[in-house]
């Protein structure tokens, strides 16, 4: 018996390879910036830095849980042990070659982390998790290569902008202008938290990447980048699943060696 190793995703194109890269938990994603944990907490706006975590239920004590074999097998994450509230962070990813798109975020999170609830909408992606675990994950996601200061937004509400044209500085539109362009430093600076409550001090998330660089890094197929139709493996995969779901929905017992 040889242990199976995941292959993640078909395709030979750059976006396909990049998709495999973000999904593979063995690949350590590049850290491009270091936003301090206190600043991450400020941007999320669920508690003040240094403030105690609020809890929704008493701490989980070993041996005092309901008698369930699965609870004995599945180790709770830190925040669950402490009974933390469940809080969220939500990212908006621009269609203009953002490093990652919302749907691949779900694949990435669920391949790399445990104990989270995630959901994808057209232009945004929410993660809900126990507060202290969420903060760690949020910092990693803001610091690493899947975040671009100009093309990724941290937005709890009024997330609109992912499919809008970029502004003159190359920033994704935000009706609540949570972040602004610092002309002198050529950096993106957060001035409001994720629900647009003004921050008491500005938080820099660094310099945006160049379009040429982003086109190499993105997981997004685009007609003016890499067209999905040009990656035969990816298109063939989509057609195959569609066909097999249909045949399986009709007479699964007759689907053999397809």
């Amino acid at each position: 018996m040889t242990a199976y190793k995941r292959q993640f995703y078909p395709g030979n194109s750059t976006p396909a390879k990049n998709r495999r890269r973000v999904m593979d938990p063995k690949v350590k994603l590049k850290k491009l910036r270091d936003v301090s944990m206190d600043d991450v907490v400020r941007i999320m706006g669920h508690r003040n830095p240094g403030e105690d975590y609020k809890s929704i239920h008493p701490p989980i004590e070993e041996g005092k849980e309901p008698d369930c074999p699965i609870r004995k097998l599945v180790e709770p994450i830190e925040g669950a042990k402490k009974g933390d509230r469940i809080r969220y962070i939500q990212f908006t990813d621009s269609v203009y070659f953002a490093p990652i798109s919302p749907y691949q975020r779900a694949w990435m999170y669920l391949s790399r982390y445990r104990g989270l609830d995630t959901g994808t909408l057209s232009g945004r992606q929410i993660i809900e998790m126990r507060e202290r675990d969420l903060e760690k994950l949020a910092k990693e996601m803001i610091d690493n290569e899947t975040f671009d200061p100009a093309l990724t937004g941290i937005r709890g509400a009024t997330v609109h902008g992912h499919a809008c044209r970029l502004d003159e500085n190359g920033l994704m539109f935000d009706a609540w202008q949570r972040y602004v362009w610092d002309k002198d430093k050529k950096e993106v600076v957060y001035v409001k938290d994720q629900v647009a409550i003004p921050l008491d001090r500005k938080i820099s998330v660094g310099k945006p990447a160049s379009m040429a660089d982003l086109k190499k890094r993105t997981t997004i197929f685009r007609a003016d980048g890499v067209d999905m139709r040009d990656d035969k493996e990816v298109t063939a995969y989509g057609l195959r699943i569609h066909k097999l779901r249909t045949l399986g929905g009709y007479q699964p017992f007759n689907v053999k060696d397809v």
Binding site: C164, R165, E168, A175, W176, Q177, A196
Partner: protein, 140 residues
């Protein structure tokens, strides 16, 4: 009660120039473009579209507090105040011209004005993009 449309319709399909910007424009650029268009003859009216920016936060825990968006402000066009409520992405310029020659001349002036003020580029097309006579919707 009948209300009149904000802009009087021409009644005939006069040509329109669509300036579709490659980037969403800052208030400053919008002001520059409009002031460059202002002296051009035969412009009957200019309509702008873009992404809406609310004055106050309209949802979430901060509902009601001022948005303070730098691009939502009053600009000066031809000496008059214009309140921008959008981050502008396109201009629709209606031309009161009588023949092709007049049209070509006006379009070239518009193109030059945009070239000088929109460094991120734009596309320009001539056609008819909006209503030119009243329809049922104008009587409400």
């Amino acid at each position: 009660m009948l209300s009149e449309p904000t802009v009087e319709y021409a009644g005939i399909p006069l040509p329109e120039v669509e300036i579709f910007s490659n980037a969403l424009l800052s208030a400053e650029t919008t002001e520059k473009v409009l002031n460059a268009l202002d002296p051009i003859e035969h412009i009957r009216q200019i309509n702008m579209t873009g992404e809406s920016i609310s004055k106050n936060l309209n949802s979430g825990p901060g509902k009601g507090i001022p948005n303070n968006h730098s691009e939502r402000k009053v600009i000066k066009v031809g000496g008059k105040d214009v309140e921008l409520r959008f981050q502008v992405g396109a201009f629709y310029i209606e031309l009161n011209v009588e023949n092709q020659e007049m049209l070509d001349e006006a379009v070239e002036k518009i193109r030059a004005a945009c070239d000088a003020n929109m460094p991120r580029g734009f596309s320009l097309t001539v056609g008819r993009y909006s209503k030119y006579r009243k329809t049922l919707r104008d009587y409400k």
